[in-house]
């Protein structure tokens, strides 16, 4: 029983990591209807930038100069500033020129952007696996292990706390404030938003900066856990089924979706083989090992199944249209 609980907890915490990436998707989708395929690579790019600044890497040279290395308290704000500059550039060179275009065109632009990020990140900071050391707690949470015999990694608890803070701030920001309202207005109707004097450009810069900050948070958590490397961008794909479950426009949905996927895939990975083998025990011989790599595809199958019954996701806005 303890083992089941441990599996659930580790699944939930992994799910939170997916949620962090999904959150960035939701932000941009909510405010501009653009499906930002590059969110995962943005997380990678943010983490690379942070590591580069911490270790004094000189961009485009692949050499470190320890004299230029910044302390953590300076490197994080500077990375946030870099993400802001990125947002300004994306607005200026991409979004501004694609106003009122079809969704598929915007989507293709985002696919292009993904590879621009990957290429530029590679050229600026090099492609080797980097260690991200922010002094975040590592290893197991001793107290829980000693008293309850449960193995939970500290870094995952930090990730969960970060996600909780981000979600609370973003939800209040979206629901209660002028800029949040303007974001929703832009998402709803460009022309009407313009007519009340909302500036599309400012809104896009704000929302992409916010997505950049969320990407940084995701990048830091994943990077601290498994090193900053280019496979990080693949997490972005795991965020897709999370979004389908939670709904593309719901911030809480991103979290719940992440939890379901995280817990679900861990449970299936660990227990499905034995259960299925036991179920067919008298009939045919099944090797439980056959079901040992379900973690890679379970999320997508679940998402596919979900689409049949609730295409708008658990928390998505139901599309209302008067005809």
């Amino acid at each position: 029983m303890l083992f089941v609980l441990e599996t659930v907890i580790s699944g939930a915490l992994a799910g939170i990591m997916y949620s962090l990436v999904a959150l960035g998707f939701v932000l941009i989708f909510k405010a501009s209807g653009v499906f930002n395929f590059s969110q995962g690579v943005m997380a990678l790019f943010a983490a690379l930038t942070l590591v580069g600044l911490l270790s004094g890497t000189i961009p485009f040279t692949n050499t470190d100069n320890p004299a230029l290395a910044l302390p953590v308290w300076a490197a994080i704000p500077l990375t946030i500033f870099v993400m802001f500059i990125v947002a300004v550039l994306i607005e200026k060179f991409i979004l501004r020129h694609l106003v009122n275009q079809e969704h598929i065109i915007l989507f293709m632009a985002m696919v292009g952007l993904t590879y621009v990020f990957e290429g530029v990140g590679d050229m600026m900071w090099g492609s080797d696996v980097k260690v991200l050391d922010l002094g975040l707690p590592q290893g197991a949470w001793d107290w829980l292990f000693d008293t309850h015999d449960l193995y939970v990694e500290k870094i995952e608890m930090v990730a969960a706390a970060t996600a909780a803070v981000l979600v609370t701030v973003l939800a209040v920001f979206f629901q209660k404030t002028r800029i949040g309202r303007a974001l929703r207005a832009v998402a709803d109707d460009h022309q009407a938003a313009l007519s009340v004097g909302i500036s599309l450009r400012n809104i896009w810069i704000i929302v992409w900066s916010a997505a950049g900050i969320v990407a940084l948070a995701a990048g830091v958590m994943w990077g601290a856990k498994s090193g900053v490397q280019f496979s990080l961008s693949l997490i972005a794909l795991k965020a897709l089924p999370v979004l389908i479950l939670g709904g593309f426009t719901s911030i809480p949905g991103a979290i719940v979706g992440g939890l379901i996927i995280g817990i679900g895939e861990k449970l299936v990975e660990v227990f499905s083989g034995e259960l299925i083998a036991a179920a067919f025990a008298g009939l045919i011989e099944i090797d439980p090992g056959v079901f040992s790599a379900t973690e890679n595809w379970f999320a997508y199958v679940l998402a596919l199944f979900f689409l049949m019954f609730r295409p708008q996701g658990l928390f998505g806005e139901k599309i209302i249209e008067r005809v």
Partner: protein, 268 residues
């Protein structure tokens, strides 16, 4: 629905907006050809004409959605070749749309609050925290919006997403959003289209009240001649993108060109 005929236009009221020799075309299609007219402070100015006459295009030129190829727009004494939506809004031009352009997923309250966008200045830091100045500012504007809600008699639909409301109420919410901008010039694109008689009478009353209580200058496009004759101080008539008449409702009503345009006399 008997609005006392306004005397404002007859006096020497100041000109708020004037368009001079404006022409607008899309590719080969000429939507507006060499049209000039002015709107005086405080008046209700109607723009009428058959379908496709260029009325909505004209409003789009005034608030900067369309950029005319020729002509100038003088607003509050400043002459421009074209407006920009953001500039128009911040200079006090508000509008409603022919087909209702509301934020359908948002509540009535949020829709009208969005009209306050330009008047709220709190920076993003406080907004992120929704604390201190941001909260105070939000509450102040909320008070103003509640007044508009009372004025338009839509208290009961405050919390309902506007996508779910019937058409007549949506039009009213849209007017509310425009009023929340405290505009100097209010552009109404067919505010009574698709309404039943009762809804029309309500809307007429609101338009007259806005004009009289707040002194807001109003330009409206309307097809219902009864409404136009009752409400408008002056009327400009467009047909095939040209101005064919301009004057008081009475003058326009008796103008032979206008009668021909509405009866569909051929144009060669």
């Amino acid at each position: 629905m008997n609005a006392a005929p306004n005397k404002k236009a007859n006096g020497k009221a100041e000109t708020l907006l004037s368009v001079e020799a404006v022409s607008l075309s899309f590719g080969g299609v000429k939507a507006i050809r060499d049209v000039s007219f002015d709107i005086k402070k405080g008046e209700i100015r109607a723009i009428i004409g058959p379908n496709g006459a260029g009325k909505t295009s004209m409003l789009n030129v005034i608030n900067g959605f369309y950029h005319p190829q020729e002509g100038t727009i003088t607003y509050k004494g400043k002459t421009r070749n074209q407006m920009r939506p953001h500039v128009a809004a911040s200079q006090g031009i508000a509008r409603t749309f022919q087909n209702v352009a509301l934020f359908k997923g948002m509540t009535t309250l949020d829709n009208i609050m969005s009209g306050r966008a330009l008047r709220m200045k709190c920076n993003i830091f406080w907004q992120m925290l929704y604390y201190g100045p941001a909260k105070k500012e939000e509450l102040e504007h909320r008070e103003f919006v509640e007044k508009i809600i009372d004025f338009l008699e839509i208290q009961h639909i405050r919390r309902i997403p506007v996508g779910k409301l019937p058409y007549g109420l949506q039009k009213r919410v849209e007017l509310g959003r425009a009023l929340a901008m405290e505009p100097d010039l209010l552009l109404l694109d067919e505010p009574m289209a698709g309404m039943n008689l009762e809804e029309k009478e309500d809307m007429c009353r609101f338009v007259v009240d806005v004009s009289e209580q707040y002194g807001t200058t109003i330009a409206l496009i309307e097809h219902d001649m009864g409404v136009v004759m009752d409400l408008a101080d002056r009327v400009v008539v467009l047909d095939y993108g040209r101005k064919i008449a301009d004057g008081t409702p009475k003058q326009v009503q008796n103008n032979q060109d206008v009668i021909d345009a509405y009866l569909g006399v051929s144009h060669d």
